[in-house]
Symmetry: C2
Subunit: 765 residues, 2 copies
């Protein structure tokens, strides 16, 4: 039976809703400081060019220009995710490697002056031939993006578990399919903006969108060669992250540099074009799956090869290489598995992390399972279930999976959608598809560490949570407040938050890799429990009771079962204060993982303390004339462990279907011309709007993970990924052929239908 | 032998010096926020008047006026120090009780508009007769300032220890003298200013000079009827406190009210006149000492009666009533003591706390001792020493005195000044005098509680101290940094401070009642020790050592005696982070006092955990023609326990001589005309400037108090008070007669010399 919670497990409006709804909330771009300068970045117009000379003298002489910086003003520290390739300077000196690469920057008293100054910077380029696709990059005589990376191969990951060759050989059926997906774009509502305010002691205050302030301060401290104490990343409202905002932007560095050089606050706000081309996005990816299956539909082995288009620098990309594989080895039982991932440099914008990892990998796996089920005459749901992860198992790379509600997710979506009645029995051009996925709640955090929280009390019973957790859209602030209110027996309005400030708040790994509720939520829960223990000690003396017999509820501390034998919390706090033992709670939580596990060189061992699982079913109607897909209904289920705020979890599901399915599989892609992005704006890159969205039936599955706070794990991402798979399978089911290049746009559908009518559609392509 | 400290006990430049020296530091009045309004207060032009009507309609209609408030806009909560008289509303409704009393206020887009709006507020007053002196207030038919306080008697304190009457009767010599002193003014360099910024959720951010942000937030929360979580008093630079800035100002309340009403930031900056008349200052005071002495100069008994002119409201004045007595019962052994203190209401500005408590009391005691020594033919130094407090004794009101270096202070000042060779042997109109005093390091703090500190680490070895301690001029920030650096084996530059913010920092009693080094310093020391314990645990595992054998120094942790068996602190911090046990230190300290002790109703029991002691010798040359006093030299000694930063301690001594002696005894006083202050500005109220100051020989005496951090107690205030006494005694010694009305201005000196020449000077007056 579930405990009787007062705050958690209930749908409550988010604590940050009011400021966002009224428009009062301040994002980085909204900040204004006296004497603040406008910063602008001069970017390479060439995809690949040697920088022969940069002459800033004319710009420097322009009235109103306060500082001009180039790579020569920097310590020349190269950035990249430790311990992988560090290949990027924040301002280029020798070469520009993509259209948009940072070459110089100015800070001036207003935007017009800054833009005029950019025009006055003279850069001599020697244009070099570039590589713009994975194939071009891997060609024998390809120009090198980085001279020290032969073959333009940035990072390669090899995983080989069991005996894949033997298992494939013994399989009843083996299929080989190649799936292709272009780059993903986050298209956050908030343009990237950074404000840096210096003081004369060389301290910097920094406001920018982030996935964890400590994730910004640490690399900035490194590239700026400043101690962490001087790099103070402050809390600010953030308009979306989606896996991005997780590493420093050159803008952070450039803005800091110009603030230090000018001694004045500097603000850089990206244009929409810069947001598209100069902010890290998801990788384009080509994946070949060779999958073996036995007669009953059980997968015997899978060998996957993925090539990722990483763009000009490594960014956080090395980590991204194996994530699609890992998500799938969590989702599907796989004793014999091989993965070869190669991240390739091209002269295109830089690719990093995104919330839907590897459309070509994920959708590929499920489409291929459907194809093989069809070939074997098996039910696609049964094929999914026979291969589905169950609790108490290990993944191929030796992660123990504790709580796991994947089967329940599949069963519930299938049942609610009437999948079995519909599949194969729908009218022509109507289809239904199922996808399933899994993500970890955090991974070996290395130097990112765990989360630590402090709980501080005012003597009137008010509480302040001090936590490094950042809320970049998913409701983390609310989650922390709900947990503290529950633990301490207070109302949510009694609780105030200080979060996401590297100066004030203790360490937190960032709202990234799905770890926040698990680590940050647990840290606050532990801090509250620590405070409660102290409160009970003080109260027990006065109440002449055993601390173990006390409970906290309704802003009071009282003896269990005797609500009249109690004291108001405020009174206990005052007693503690006067007695010289003021209450201060602290807690820290770090997921139990195998710290020897490593992304590239040693992908073995416990990846995460817990995993969430999701399944999505999608029903579509395709217009064979126009190729337009109407999504009729989506059923999205996730085992999130426990839903601390079901309303927020459901919101996460909705956003996940939008990102993973509706946008990711139907409309979103970039067009290129030799490294130049042709659709940089919201008019051209088709992110689904609220009006585009289908009805979504959110199904929360709760397995009460033993380590999560109240059993909570992660919410949303398993839906985002499984939605992509469901959409792809549903369209295939509707049109009767398999489109393996994503997104599945109307032109491809019309072409496939025509090919199919002509009988020349090659489903093995 | 003293331990070998690296940081403490050394004179180092203060961490806040640079910003102050460059002018970069921001005081409250310097703050600017977008859309900020200018607030101005309408004050009563009458010393005592009934408010018949306030018509704000014309002001409200003026373009640019955003809000107008009167007492009708308030919850009507009366303010006063708990548990004493709560007699003051922050905006008056029924009566105005002094010239300057708050009647209404406006916030407008600029100062001109705000001032014009004040002129447009129509107030109908019925002028009432007022009382302007203690005598007038106590007269039988005196008008009442507060109708519920008959006889205008605000608070009365009675202390009666031993058998005073019998002891006086048995005394060899009894003297009765009455000493008079006018009000003291702080004349801080910084004018009072407050800025309040509201948000739409009703949270207020407040910047104002303060003696502890929690001392502001708590009463503001009370009068505004807002939870403490919504009243966020922020850190800001403070230009002097001197015992003031310790309670809320009506300006804080009015500014908050107007910010809430207008929804915009509001700033109020006091004019210099408002600073003088509308900021609480020290009490005017009349004291009669009846002192008995035996043949050897030993004081047998003292009965003192003090009347304090409290002005129109009680403020923190009730506490001030007995402080001069308490300081002296700490300084001088006194088995038979009686004190009757009466705080009287008058129609004058409000009086509260100040750093030199009771010139008339303090200087009176020492002058009278000199008179009696002279009458008995005893050496004044010996009379001081025979009566001086010694360690291990109890005060009359039952406070145990542990460490006490009073005798050493007296002996050192006497020796360095050649007092004995000079006293009675100097040329005419040259004199030398000795004063001694004592103050407590904190007192029963009640709801103010103790101090609590958090120490947080960055993984590169940087440290952040989170403490509620405010630095309002005395070097507290530096003190905290020195202590943390010492404990943790770091450099001071590794340490950063977050202090004095009620939202972020835990409780602290405020930089007030001399408690900061003792409580706040100890809390930081304990927090650092707590962190060090955790650090040693982590390091000990790696070093295969016993944590007890480790020491922290030079940014490393190593085995005692084996500096090669060590780890950089940064490395240990990273190990702790990765191991999921990040380091966070906390400490709290509350002085051990008798919490049953109470200022008015029960002045018995342990007042403070430690007491500091000081002695000052002053040598003067008086010009008998002009009455001008030239101070030739000052020797100031204090037992401050341990000097954490000797340079700062010496600076405190210098400021103390300026405030207590040079200004307090020679030049500073206010002139009045029926409750109207005639000298409100710095041109007219003569605060000594640096060029006016005599040479000062600062003598630090260290008794290493067992409870103070490294033995430290309080620094400066015992000098401030003993300097007043030394100046008074020195002038008397120079001119050969006793001027008992302070300050001892040239006119009084010339008059006394003439009286003496005529033989009609009444030294018993």
């Amino acid at each position: 039976m579930m405990p009787d919670y007062k705050h958690i497990g209930r749908s409550v409006p988010r604590v940050d809703s009011r400021a966002r709804a009224t428009g009062e909330v301040k994002f980085s771009g909204d900040l204004i400081f006296p004497r603040m300068l406008v910063g602008k970045v001069l970017r390479s117009p060439h995809a690949h060019a040697r920088i022969l000379n940069i002459d800033t003298s004319r710009a420097e002489r322009l009235r109103g220009v306060k500082t001009v910086v180039t790579g020569r003003d920097t310590a020349g520290v190269k950035w990249g995710v430790f311990p992988y390739t560090r290949d990027m300077q924040m301002l280029q000196i020798d070469k520009a490697r993509y259209i948009g690469d940072e070459v110089a920057a100015v800070a001036a008293v207003d935007e017009d002056t800054a833009l005029e100054a950019l025009r006055l910077i003279d850069v001599d380029y020697e244009i070099l031939p570039g590589v713009f696709t994975i194939d071009e990059a891997l060609a024998d005589d390809a120009p090198l993006v980085h001279e020290d990376y032969p073959g333009n191969r940035n990072v390669e990951v090899n995983i080989d578990v069991g005996d894949v060759d033997e298992a494939l050989e013994k399989s009843h059926l083996v299929r080989t399919d190649t799936f292709i997906a272009p780059e993903d774009d986050y298209f956050m509502g908030e343009p990237y903006a950074v404000v840096v305010r210096p003081d004369t002691d060389g301290n910097l205050e920094i406001w920018c969108p982030n996935a964890g302030p400590h994730m910004k301060s640490k690399p900035l401290s490194n590239v700026l060669r400043l101690p962490l104490n001087k790099v103070k990343v402050r809390k600010v409202a953030i308009g979306g992250a989606f896996g991005g905002r997780s590493e420093i932007s050159p803008a952070d560095f450039i803005c800091s540099l110009m603030a230090l050089k000018s001694g004045r606050p500097v603000k850089i706000v990206y244009t929409r074009e810069e947001n598209t081309t100069c902010v890290r996005q998801g990788h384009g990816m080509v994946t070949k799956h060779i999958t073996g299956m036995d007669r009953d539909g059980r997968v015997t082995a899978r060998s996957s090869i993925s090539y990722l288009d990483g763009g000009a620098y490594s960014s956080t990309g090395p980590i991204a290489v194996s994530v699609p594989f890992l998500c799938h080895e969590q989702t599907y039982r796989l004793d014999n598995a091989r993965f070869h991932g190669v991240r390739v440099y091209t002269n295109k914008p830089v690719r990093g992390m995104i919330r839907i990892h590897g459309r070509s990998f994920a959708a590929g796996v499920d489409m291929q399972l459907d194809m093989m089920a069809e070939e074997l005459g098996l039910d696609p749901v049964e094929v999914r279930l026979i291969n589905a992860r169950r609790p108490g198992e290990y993944t191929a790379t030796k992660s123990y999976v504790g709580s796991c509600g994947l089967t329940e997710c599949v069963e519930k979506t299938v049942e609610r959608s009437d999948f079995k009645k519909k599949h194969g029995k729908l009218p022509p051009y109507r289809g239904i598809g199922l996808g399933m996925n899994s993500v970890q709640t955090g991974f070996p955090l290395g130097i990112r560490g765990g989360s630590q929280a402090i709980i501080k009390f005012n003597e009137d019973g008010g509480v302040t949570i001090i936590s490094g957790v950042v809320d970049n859209g998913q409701g983390n602030d609310n989650m922390l407040v709900q947990i503290a209110a529950e633990e301490l027996g207070l109302e949510m309005t009694d609780i105030e938050l200080i979060t996401a400030d590297t100066e004030v708040t203790p360490n937190d790994p960032g709202s990234y890799s799905m770890v926040t509720t698990f680590a940050g939520g647990n840290a606050v829960r532990l801090a509250a429990a620590d405070a409660k223990r102290q409160i009970f000690e003080v109260a027990a003396e006065k109440l002449e009771a055993n601390p173990a017999d006390l409970i906290a509820a309704d802003r009071k501390v009282f003896v269990k079962g005797s609500p009249d034998r109690g004291l108001p919390l405020a009174k206990v706090l005052r007693m503690a204060l006067i007695q010289g033992r003021p209450i201060l709670g602290q807690g820290s939580f770090s997921p139990k993982v195998d710290h020897r596990r490593e992304w590239v060189s040693n992908p073995q061992g416990q990846l995460s303390e817990a995993f969430s699982f999701g399944a999505t079913v999608c029903e579509v109607d395709v217009d064979p004339e126009t190729g337009l897909v109407e999504v009729l209904d989506v059923w999205a289920a996730q085992d999130c462990g426990f839903a601390i705020n079901p309303m927020v979890v459901e919101g996460q599901f909705e956003g996940s279907v939008a990102m993973g399915g509706q946008g990711g599989m139907l409309t979103e892609f970039h067009s290129w011309n030799d490294g130049r992005c042709l659709n940089t704006t919201q008019l051209e890159y088709k992110v689904p709007l609220a009006v585009d969205m289908p009805p979504i039936d959110p199904i929360i599955v709760e397995t009460i993970d033993p380590s999560g706070p109240y059993g909570a794990k992660e919410a949303g991402m398993s839906v985002a990924m499984s939605a992509a798979q469901a959409y792809a399978c549903a369209i295939a089911n509707a049109i009767g052929c398999w489109i393996k290049e994503f997104p599945i746009t109307p032109d491809k559908i019309v072409e496939a239908i025509e090919h199919k009518k002509r009988g020349d559609f090659d489903s093995n392509g």
